[in-house]
Symmetry: none
Subunit: 228 residues, 2 copies
DNA sequence: TATTATTCTTAAGAACTTCTTAAGCTTAAC
DNA sequence: GTTAAGCTTAAGAAGTTCTTAAGAATAATA
């Protein structure tokens, strides 16, 4: 498997290269967007890891260009300080992203996950999954959520939370875990944010929010979506 | 869980130690990079908190060395005055970092977050285990407990006790042992707390709490869940 | 810029859990 | 058969977690 690592910081590229080679991947390097495009042209690449901030052609633009004619998974790298939402918004072409400083294990896990998806689904297959439990259906491709056939309109944060829980129906997530997975930041205040979003989601997907059928609390632990 | 705290400033080490011990972690100390390497060699460490500026082998180099053969999460400590971006760039081996002076709550949150990440990513998507004995089934992923197919609703403490006993069905645990494992504190006995929880659990999982089928007392020793 | 939608914060109270106390019961040992 | 120690049980006080509403802050849209 060939992986292209693109970042203007040579140390980072080198470090990532070591981790990936350790897992048996062949690694190609690029220092900016143009080099990345060239590398993808010239070699059969199976995955690209791309920094966002780079001189010349930046990572977002390069990703769009790569995606124009190739179907290669792209994982974005971004500094934690950059505005997450903005990245997410612009980030349409990418399949996943990781914030710096990152955990090498996490990087490997995400790389494997992307390669798995692309090889098992076949590269023509759309990446949108459909998640279901009972009458609750989430179509990740169209971002449509339906309950017993009725379409429900969720806001972005609400959608991410519900998707996380539904994709892993049955598993209990603590509030901190939800916060970390959805916001991609370490949860650290004893804030009530997640709870409020849970409330709003219930309002929309549950017939009776007081006796939720899908989105249940597990006292003292967290929340889960019932596996039905 | 064992955590190594490495800093040449003894006061900081001591302060961090207190916070961490308060959360139930076992804390090891090191005053410089070499001591840290030695500590990691000699003991099974689950996480390292490492200052960057230290005499002798500094934190960055020590981290790289630790990472060469161990897969332990490392959280860097750095003074706010040091150039954040530079740290980030150099910081490839680390998983997270905290600037001094830091908020103890934040430190704890980040420690927990890293340990969580490593335990869920490290062991290949740890699916919660299922523990069974006779008709009693505990699904640790969904925290669901069923007796002969009937779902039973346990509180967090009740759940932890029952899980401990069921996961080790047949083994007898003294009240003090149960207390220590579940509360992560040294039992200071004379209290009746565990007994009361046992009562409540029986009420929920036993058909006739007076003649328990699963959760049995071993007179003068403790309690066990019958291995069936 | 004004308007609207979304997200976050706050705070009060409801729901639930945990701990303590104390009395009654059972077992083991003398 | 009496006693001491260990276990069971009930009830309520204290503490924690969850829910909910309302408004402030922020972002998106016109």
């Amino acid at each position: 498997m060939n992986i292209l690592v693109c970042d203007d910081d040579k140390e980072i590229v080198e470090a990532i290269k070591i981790y990936l080679e350790n897992e048996g991947y062949k690694v190609f390097k690029a220092a900016n967007g143009l080099e990345a495009l060239k590398a993808v042209e010239e070699n059969e690449m199976h995955l690209v890891i791309m920094d966002i901030m780079m001189p010349g052609l930046d990572g977002l633009r390069a990703t769009v260009r790569i995606r124009e004619d190739k179907n290669i998974p792209v994982i974005m790298l971004s500094a934690k300080s950059e505005d997450t939402d903005k990245i997410m918004g612009l980030n349409m072409g990418a399949d996943d992203y990781i914030t710096k400083p990152f955990n090498p294990l996490e990087l490997i896990a995400r790389v494997k996950s992307q390669l798995r998806r692309y090889t098992t689904l076949g590269s023509l297959e759309t990446k949108g999954h459909i998640y279901k439990t009972g009458g609750l259906v989430i179509d990740d491709e169209s971002k449509a959520v339906t309950v017993d056939g009725e379409e429900v309109n969720l806001t972005p944060v609400q959608y991410k939370i519900l998707k996380l829980l539904t994709a892993n129906a049955g598993r209990v997530y603590s509030i901190d875990e939800i916060y970390e997975k959805v916001w991609k930041e370490t949860a650290f205040s004893a804030e009530n944010t997640v709870a409020v979003h849970i409330r709003r989601i219930r309002e929309k997907i549950e017939i009776n929010p007081k006796e939720p059928k899908y989105l249940k609390v597990v006292w003292g632990i967290g929340y889960k979506v019932e596996k039905i």
